[in-house]
Assembly symmetry: D2
Homo-oligomer: 348 residues x 4
């Protein structure tokens, strides 16, 4: 029955290819703290994938990746701009502020959790009026995909980065669902990141089939100074790091990451389109990654729950719900949910 869970892609398991890679990584001894052969290969692989010399810091949580990035890019008295609904701002219990020694997150508006370029421009033009009384505008963080399951087009990333950089900011991308965004954006990893102005990427894999594996990818080595020490002092330097690197290596091998994301996105598309056709149901945001946000009448929401389908009401709302698909969501689970929803709805 658990295949009926649409709570979160974190409830899915691990792709078999990744589990197999862990077993392989266990053969023989290996140097610790990232001095192993797998981690070395992994960096080379990331350079290929992003068509650039990059620095890679394997990690186990997206919170760590995001927070290390923010801490690295923002001075202690820095202001960090993100969407007001960004995970960074709402769901990380102040982790970025903690890692960045009290840096201040400033939430920006924008439809479907995408920062509006005009809003960013207006905000940055007026920032700094208070001189040292105000935190120094330092970082823009974009979530890709966003907290509402939408995706910035490549041109949108480029434009937002351009505005930010014209005001001296650095740009971070929270890619907890980067693969899901990438397959939607139909461009290369390079095009969606550093070629569009991104300085650091939190590259997520856990939600898309890994066990516990993220990577902080730094596109400009100058920005990685002392980042290795920051990782250590945050308790995020794993002694047997090869077991994180092995997950990421398998994830990037043979397009596994893209196949996983395509599957999840397709399932979400089907789910969203199907729900939108049910009487009384309204899609709240375009379905562009692996999340579906809908307004559900109470009897449908309750009926689905009663039928064993798991999904969460969105915090601070009464009737909005999020359904998340994963790399392994069975087609039948989507079909059964849609069939149940249709049965619960009154005939048109």
């Amino acid at each position: 029955m658990t295949r009926r869970y649409f709570h979160s892609d974190n409830e899915a398991g691990v792709a078999p290819e990744i589990l197999a890679a862990l077993a392989r990584a266990n053969e023989g001894m290996a140097h610790s703290y990232g001095a192993d052969a797998i981690t070395t290969r992994l960096t080379a692989r990331f350079c290929e994938v992003f068509e650039k010399q990059v620095e890679v810091f394997p990690l186990v949580t997206g919170t760590a990746a995001n927070s290390l990035a923010i801490a690295q890019l923002a001075p202690p008295c820095g202001a960090v701009y993100c969407h007001v609904e960004a995970h960074l701002n709402t769901d990380e219990c102040g982790a970025p502020e903690f890692f960045a020694d009290g840096a201040k997150l400033i939430g920006l508006d924008g439809e479907h959790a995408r920062i509006d370029a005009a809003t960013l421009d207006h905000t940055l033009r007026h920032a700094g009026a208070l001189d040292v009384h105000e935190c120094k505008p330092s970082v823009l963080s974009l979530s890709q995909a966003t907290e509402h399951g939408t995706v910035y087009a490549r041109g949108e990333v480029t434009e937002l980065s351009r505005i930010a950089k014209s005001h001296g900011l650095r740009v971070h991308m929270d890619g907890a669902r980067f693969a899901n965004a990438l397959v939607q954006a139909s461009c290369t990893p390079a095009e969606l990141t550093w070629k569009a102005g991104i300085d650091m990427l939190s590259f997520g894999a856990t939600k898309n089939g890994a066990m516990m594996a993220e990577a902080l990818v730094v596109f400009d080595a100058a920005l990685a100074q002392e980042l290795a020490r920051r990782r250590k002092r945050a308790g995020h330097l794993l002694s047997k790091m090869r077991f994180v690197s092995a997950q990421l290596e398998a994830y990037l091998h043979d397009d596994l990451w893209l196949r996983c994301a395509k599957h999840a996105n397709a399932a979400a598309q089907e789910l969203g389109a199907g729900l939108a056709r049910v009487e009384g149901v309204a899609l709240l945001h375009p379905v562009e990654a692996n999340e579906v946000f809908v307004r559900l009448p109470a009897h449908i929401a309750n009926g689905l729950h009663a039928a064993g389908f798991g999904f969460h009401r969105w915090p601070r709302t009464d009737d909005c719900y999020r359904l998340v698909t994963a790399f392994d969501t069975p087609h039948e689970a989507v079909e059964e949910l849609l069939a149940t929803a249709r049965e619960l709805a009154p005939a048109r």
Copy 2:
């Protein structure tokens, strides 16, 4: 000419009574770090003024008072609610977040920079939905007077505190202009603070005639635990503390603080009422303390500046201005400004 400055009450000097007290405090040696007789007397005096056994921490800036209070009341992963325009949130360069090890300030809306009770209630009812992913709702901070020169009535403070406490929060009052608010609120210091639910007060004196003197007043000794060490490690334990305490003692002596505030408030009243009668000028907020917020036509604003009157345009606006009066603002300065404004306006 400098008497024509309405930029800020920080540009005023020091009341003669306070300067005299500094000279008196200089007679003979005295124990350091607050172990002197003046500091001891000062605490007793505060207990009288607030009709309660309180703990008093003399300080030299409002930023320190506010930030120590927030750090003391909020756990490291705490959420602190204040008005979105509160000084705490906009003008202290992240000091509260720094002192409180990354605690998160959450800005609330409300007309004239006063937090709306319904907004607070709604926010706190929905807070906590994200469990540990969300900062723990911990503190409400009220500015009295507010950043827009308005004042919470005693009943409003009581109601906001009641809501906060029903959700387990502590309540802080930023009283950088406490005296100005108090004389407006027409009640006792006790009634406007601990009797209305306030746990800690940043008691300001600098803006109202002191040289550099504020006090953090703690109404519940249990909340002051290790606060003395927090003050020290923030570099705010002055070795010759008697010279801060002496300012506060003189400030509280013979109602000097209330007389100073009444003077400043009256000057602001006159200034606000006079400006409101000038063609093209609009008051933006009720004048309830010593600040006047107006929308000025460009020719009036420019003309006043050209005539030597100093005042600031409000950040992030095009035509809104703030004029601040002080304990020693000369009546003639107000009259001259009004006369000049009237001359600049077209005849009605």
Copy 3:
């Protein structure tokens, strides 16, 4: 050849039982962030093992476990006492200070990296003389096994805790090699921890056969307040936590942890005893866990390295070396190393 590595127990792999548990944990979906069935069972298991109601926080690094513990037990202006050579003090890049918002570690002396009771007593008797100018004595942290591979006897832990508690301190145990210490100490887990005065234990598993699994075990629920949020904001709340919990469950199952530790300790005993008999070699510390510290003549050190044996020179020394055994160190590797050493030594 890598079986010839004695650099660190972190270079060993993962016990087959633990790898199998990860595969089993991958069956089906499961709730995220620790709301899964495995994590629930794990807490119950820890309660059994420690014969007490405990709170358990699965983690992936010892640095995180130690630093969260210190942050939880020490106020921001707290002083934390540990051995001057403790891992906490020398090898964590300031992580405890970072997590604990600047708390101060104070290194104590003692032979073989064990804190001397008289030194602790003397230090604490004189602490506090500087009042608020000094950090508040708050925590004692004991490493078990110590940084020099020695073990505190149960009575020693009890005595040090007693002294610490008589001065109002809390007591933490850094058990990165807790299993190795436990099998040496010949007592129950409870006897070596809470019954001996320990308040929190960093329970290590990674070095003893897990992939990435540690647990912060809290013996008094009152001390765990907001610890879940601290974990989150440090980026240490894993979304697919079941894969950490599964490691720990397998580790504790059927005495795997004790068997692994006994194997490693026995290998170290053999290695230490054998090396001590080689001409020119001197044991630096008693071998009580899975580490051997020796002074080696240059020709022996170099000869062993040339023969492919891996081990590190101890930092800040010229001729002192550490050899570490692990849960899976082959008997032959130890014998080969000893044979090589004997060949390198001049005949007696």
Copy 4:
């Protein structure tokens, strides 16, 4: 009787010239937060005094000056070397660690609280062996005068700075008693600081006749980046800053600071020399500034206390005492103390 206090130079009052300067600064209004004319003049004056373009940050405590300097010079994962007895390390309740986001202070040995050059060299040669597991060696902090009232000669400062810089460190000088050290060192302010390799100086005035006035002097503008914001977010940007600047201006005017320091040092010389001649009394450190450290027999210590002389026993000792002279210590107070001590001692 209070003229009999030798507890601390913090118990002295304010030089009349400085009090007068405060009264003068009170004439008219002035821009706030350091935009006033006095602060502008002050920077120019510091440039003259130090024969260099410097940046000056007026402050009110030495703790703030030191901690801001350390925070500015050390990265968050930095190691800061100072004498193990340095005020920074023992008396500031962890302030440097707090300001510097958990940077680690490492205490070095050396006779009479002066860091030994060989020790520094040896320490820095071995630092870094643990790579990212170790804090990054970043700052050397020298106290001038030292915590034991001794003074580094100009050549000693130069040599220590040279060693530090050869390892990539920056050098800070804690000059809480800089004037006292300077008059002893018989060289120019420039020679004792930036010409000897100092990057930042905590320039103290409070202990030497000011009311509450210190300055952080930065010799290389590149090192002052965002320091103004750091000051603000620590609550150390005073709104009526002119009243701090006025103290410093008067302090530097007409050699007041040097005259004050010479007086205090001469009094200490007399006190030290006199006490050394008393039977049973031993000088513990050379008297090179305004502090005298002596071992006193119990009957002399008690007898002096009974006679109304105030001075402290040195923390963590049984029979060592510190006596401090100040800019205004009356000659008779010294003579009376010496006479009393002689009476208390048995005839030789």
